[in-house]
């Protein structure tokens, strides 16, 4: 087993742990903002670690660039979706409890 393979295994495993933590957070946390916190932080970092780990094993530079691009686009998408859901949540909260 080469050093690269060991590094990839460590990174991919760490990424999977973050995904697991994020999923547990979504299931266990009580309301939308804390769930968003769990899913965006954990998944962004988890996906980054997965992409890095797979990039170590990639057979060409273009695959490395594609993997990193996937991560960057997923980061942008997830950050935007987080904002949108949090905004919708706030609006709903204000409608339900106008004096809060």
């Amino acid at each position: 087993m080469t050093l690269l393979e060991i590094g990839a295994i460590v990174l991919v495993t760490a990424g999977a742990v973050f995904f697991l933590a994020g999923t547990v957070g979504v299931l266990r946390f009580p309301d939308a903002p804390t769930r968003l916190h769990a899913v965006t932080k954990a998944d962004n970092l988890g996906l980054g670690l997965l992409a890095l780990g797979l990039a170590l094993l990639a057979d060409s530079p273009s695959t490395v660039v594609k993997l990193l691009l996937i991560w960057v686009i997923a980061l942008a998408g997830s950050a935007t979706a987080c904002q949108l859901i949090a905004n919708a949540y706030q609006r709903e909260e204000q409608q339900v409890t106008p004096d809060a």
Binding site: I73, A76, G77, A79, T80, Q83, L84, N87
Partner: protein, 331 residues
């Protein structure tokens, strides 16, 4: 062993998602489950070594159809209709018995037919696989799926484009508009969203160009490319971009029929006497590239226009109470 396990997890997930999405009462939750099921189906196609279908399923089946369903679910009329159906089924009494027995019966019949169909499948690849592989040289492209879609069975693809065209014509007929004026643009609210839309659009066009070009030799293709552009257009419309408002000046009808008309033109002008869409020797490659480009444009505009058409009607005022919401019991 591990691969078997992954396949099993995907199969169980698809079934579980399907059961939950049809058994739930909450429309929005069902749509979200539908999107999740589409993504699992895409994974299943990847496992079946059919990346072309996986791409189409993820982009059109899960992505755009999901967005269309959410958009349609926002309409007051749709909510009323769903409430009426749910009321009729959950109402109890003989009606519920009939509904349950009917759905179980239909499902059982389909299950039996499916089992026989799967048992009847050949275990060895046969049929037209060999014929298609033997004629790849003459097809004008290097990717078997594209050769089948745009050459050997171009007629089927033409009819599929016709189905898409009929669907959008139906939507436009309901809206009584035949230009992009029906394209509803949200008021610009979220700075983050409009930022993302502006960043995604050039990336989406680049990706679509890549998919379009890649389709000639590796998995990819015109429908997937069109879906990617359509997704960017939908994002722009949601973000309230003024760029989408500029689309209103486009001749919508011309773009919608472009692909269908191109197939018609090729079948009349550029085909041999041996049959419709039977390309002349040496012209297949160029004709396929041309036809695929029209598919990209027409698919993108059609899907974006379906999204615009699925929402509340442009110019409609307050959401109206519908007959279905007022008397759900009688339906």
């Amino acid at each position: 062993m591990l691969e078997r396990g992954i396949d099993l997890v995907i199969c169980v997930a698809i079934l579980a998602l399907a059961i939950r999405l049809v058994s739930g009462q909450d429309l929005f939750r069902s749509i979200v489950l539908f999107i999740a099921m589409g993504l699992m189906l895409a994974l299943a196609w990847v496992r079946l070594a059919a990346p072309d279908i996986a791409l189409a399923e993820a982009a059109i089946g899960a992505g755009l159809t999901g967005v269309l369903l959410i958009r349609a679910g926002q309409g007051q009329r749709m909510r009323g209709a769903v409430a009426a159906v749910a009321g009729a089924v959950s109402g109890g009494g003989p009606r519920r018995v009939v509904a349950t027995a009917g759905s179980v019966g239909i499902t059982a019949v389909f299950a039996v037919v499916m089992v026989f169909a799967v048992m009847g499948l050949p275990t060895e690849p046969n049929g037209l696989t060999g014929v298609a592989a033997a004629n790849m040289e003459a097809s004008g492209v290097d990717h078997a799926v594209t050769a089948v879609l745009l050459n050997f069975r171009a007629y089927d693809t033409w009819l599929e484009i016709g189905v898409l065209l009929l669907a959008i014509l139906g939507v436009l007929a309901i809206h009584r508009r035949y230009d992009c004026g029906g394209m509803r643009v949200e008021a610009p609210t979220m700075r983050v969203l409009s930022w993302l839309a502006r960043v995604i659009l050039p990336l989406a066009i680049l990706t679509a160009g890549y998919l379009y070009w890649a389709g000639t030799h590796i998995p990819g293709g015109a429908f997937q490319a069109g879906a990617v552009v359509a997704a960017a257009l939908v994002l722009l419309a949601l973000a309230g971009s003024r760029g989408v408002a500029a689309l209103r000046a486009l001749p919508l009808a011309a773009l919608l029929v472009l692909s269908f008309a191109a197939f018609l033109a090729v079948s009349i002008v550029a085909s041999t006497g041996n049959g419709m869409l039977h390309y002349r020797d040496g012209t297949a490659g160029l004709l396929i590239l041309g036809l695929e480009l029209t598919i990209v444009i027409s698919t993108a505009v059609t899907l974006a226009a379906l999204f615009a058409g699925a929402g509340p009607r442009a110019g409609a005022g307050e959401p109206r109470r519908d007959a279905a919401t007022e008397r759900p019991k009688t339906l």
